[in-house]
């Protein structure tokens, strides 16, 4: 029985929906935060979260599975080498949805879909760690 296991078809044909969600997830990994409607965000997040979980294990097999949906090699590489490692300790819940309000025109609820951790923050942390490390080394040498 497959009862009550559904998803939002978003009023689109399968091919249209698939293409759109692929594009959205690719954009999410590229920019790390995208503005969209709530319904679309919830669907895109399902896919994105599953992809990140898959990408935690960097093997040819998992790369091929994800490459079915992410055509951009640069983004695919980013997912495996930058995004997935950030979430290694986190068991799910990699994305966050923040409500922004209603859109003029159709009053659709607009939200911000973002990765809980940003690669930029990680890079800054590394820089800080590197800056701190030489100082400590210097202090240790002085003592």
């Amino acid at each position: 029985m497959r009862h009550r296991v559904g998803f939002n078809r978003l009023d689109r044909k399968t091919s249209h929906r698939k293409a759109m969600l692929r594009n959205m997830v690719t954009s999410l990994f590229r920019y790390e935060r995208i503005t969209t409607t709530k319904a679309k965000a919830l669907e895109a997040r399902r896919i994105a979260d599953k992809m990140i979980t898959r990408a935690k294990e960097d093997t040819v097999h998992s790369r091929r599975i994800i490459a079915k949906d992410i055509g951009d090699k640069e983004i695919l590489n980013k997912l495996f080498t930058e995004i997935a490692p950030m979430f290694q300790e986190r068991a799910g819940g990699y994305t966050r949805i923040l409500k922004l309000g209603q859109r003029q025109g159709d009053a659709a609820e607009v939200v911000l879909l973002e990765l809980v951790e940003k690669t930029e923050d990680k890079k800054e942390e590394k820089k800080k760690a590197k800056k701190k490390a030489p100082k400590k080394a210097a202090e240790a040498a002085a003592e």
């Binding site: 923040l98 409500k99 922004l100 309000g101 911000l112």
Partner: protein, 62 residues
């Protein structure tokens, strides 16, 4: 077949519907950062803060 004997008057229709036609004012809360009235669970459109964190840089959007 049973059929209504009288047409339902506008007054009767509207009285019946009145309970659902009531307009409800949105419940607003104060933004914890700027004090602006905002809808609960939404990012403040004035300052771009949500739960004490800057999540939106309004200058970037313009």
């Amino acid at each position: 077949m049973a059929v209504p004997k009288y047409k339902t008057s506008k007054a009767r229709t509207r009285t019946r519907k009145s309970i659902n036609m009531k307009l409800v004012a949105p419940k607003l809360v104060e933004c914890s950062t700027c004090g602006n009235k905002v809808l609960p669970h939404r990012v403040c459109p004035k300052c771009g803060f949500y739960r004490g964190k800057q999540v939106l840089n309004l200058e970037d959007i313009g």
